[in-house]
């Protein structure tokens, strides 16, 4: 249990495997927002991301016994959702083609600053979806989810130098697009 009294990941996993299905709600509440953000940045669509995350978490529940390191549940969940995202991308045959669904625009009532921020987000998301899935994945895991290269290697199964190279190339490609567009 942590300092706030919330059960640790390992405790939750033990409870679910012991038959307490409802304890899986802790996992969802703890990781849903991050996984949904990751999948949305990967797929360029909130609806597709919701499908990928829901499928991934149901799959995680069904195969929870195969989570060999419950203390590193987060990494394991990201690996599953990453694979669901790749599966969605392959099914939609988008490959390197930018997705056509833009992020939701801000409500005009939100004010000028919010509108400008929404426009900038749309621009960055477009630039992001213009990257190859491998580079996009590396950039999002590093700079959006804030993971270390070691954690990224555990999620993707790639070597750290490969991931570094992908992140570097993603930054360069994004910088190029952002400089052209602004």
């Amino acid at each position: 249990m942590d300092v706030n009294g919330a059960p640790s990941d390992a405790e939750i996993v033990a409870r679910v495997l012991g038959g307490d299905t409802e304890a899986f709600g802790f996992v969802i509440r703890r990781y849903e927002a991050g996984l949904l953000r990751f999948a949305t940045r990967m797929l360029g669509s909130r609806d597709a991301a919701a499908d990928a995350v829901a499928e991934g978490l149901v799959r995680a529940y069904r195969h929870l016994a195969s989570c060999r390191e419950p203390a590193r549940l987060r990494t394991w969940l990201y690996r599953i959702v990453t694979n669901r995202c790749k599966s969605h991308l392959a099914r939609r045959s988008v490959g390197d083609v930018p997705l056509d669904e833009a992020p939701p625009l801000a409500d005009p009532a939100d004010g000028e600053a919010a509108l400008e921020r929404a426009e900038q987000l749309a621009l960055v998301q477009r630039a992001l979806t213009g990257l190859s899935p491998d580079k996009r994945e590396a950039f999002v895991l590093k700079h959006v989810e804030g993971l270390s290269y070691e954690e990224m290697a555990a999620i993707t199964g790639e070597r750290i130098p490969t991931l570094k190279m992908r992140v570097h190339r993603a930054r360069e490609a994004l910088l190029k697009v952002l400089e052209e567009e602004t």
């Binding site: 709600g25 969802i28 953000r37 829901a54 978490l57 987000l121 700079h143 992140v167 570097h168 952002l178």
Partner: protein
């Protein structure tokens, strides 16, 4: 080609202090950081908890049922075939069609072709296809699931051309066919599937 100063990557990777970065390189660093900050914003929308927990609470299906379900679900299959074999197969298929299937099937006009629509909707009570070929009118072309395996199909003769379409499930839920040749954005921010109907030469 690497056009970005490696020191920018070193700072972003936490290998170099930002103080060691010359002022003229800080703009690129700030651009990447600002882009990342925008992407870090939470994605708004309803929680998925009830949807996931509903699925989790359902008893897991048996192995045989899962195998049957997998067999009944459409999957993308990729073949890597040497061109010479694919040409030979195409020639054999063409010969079979010419000699054995000449009089089979409906008689189609010169500018008509066959479109087959297939979708998997296990819990649906009805499925229709609507599109530019029927002015998006629901209820005119119904798909069938004769063996109740959740896979709905319809075969339709249409004038040759390219059409956009969607499935209408239970008369109210419009969903695109993600197995279509292509998906295109419509004017409502959704996606339409695209089917190309080619002429059938006899």
């Amino acid at each position: 080609m690497n056009t970005t100063d490696p020191r920018i990557h070193q700072v972003l990777d936490g290998e170099l202090s930002i103080d060691a970065l010359p002022a003229e390189l800080r703009h690129a660093l700030e651009s990447v950081s600002a882009a990342a900050d925008l992407l870090v914003a939470p994605v708004p929308g309803p929680s998925l908890e009830s949807r996931i927990m509903a699925e989790v609470r359902r008893p897991a299906s048996s192995y045989l049922r899962r195998v049957a379900s997998w067999l009944a679900t459409p999957h993308a299959i990729t073949f890597r075939v040497r061109p010479v074999w694919s040409l030979a197969f195409a020639a054999a298929a063409a010969a079979f069609t010419l000699f054995f299937a000449r009089d089979a099937g409906p008689q189609l006009g010169e500018h008509e072709g066959i479109a087959q629509f297939v979708g998997r909707f296990p819990d649906a009570r009805s499925v229709h296809v609507v599109g530019t070929f029927n002015d998006w009118r629901p209820g005119t072309i119904a798909l069938e699931d004769l063996d109740h395996d959740g896979v709905w199909t319809a075969t339709v003769v249409l004038p040759t051309g390219t059409y956009e379409y969607m499935f209408v499930v239970d008369g109210e839920r419009w969903v695109p066919d993600h197995l279509a040749d292509r998906l295109v954005a419509d004017d409502f921010g959704r996606e339409n599937s695209v089917v190309i109907v080619r002429p059938v030469h006899r």
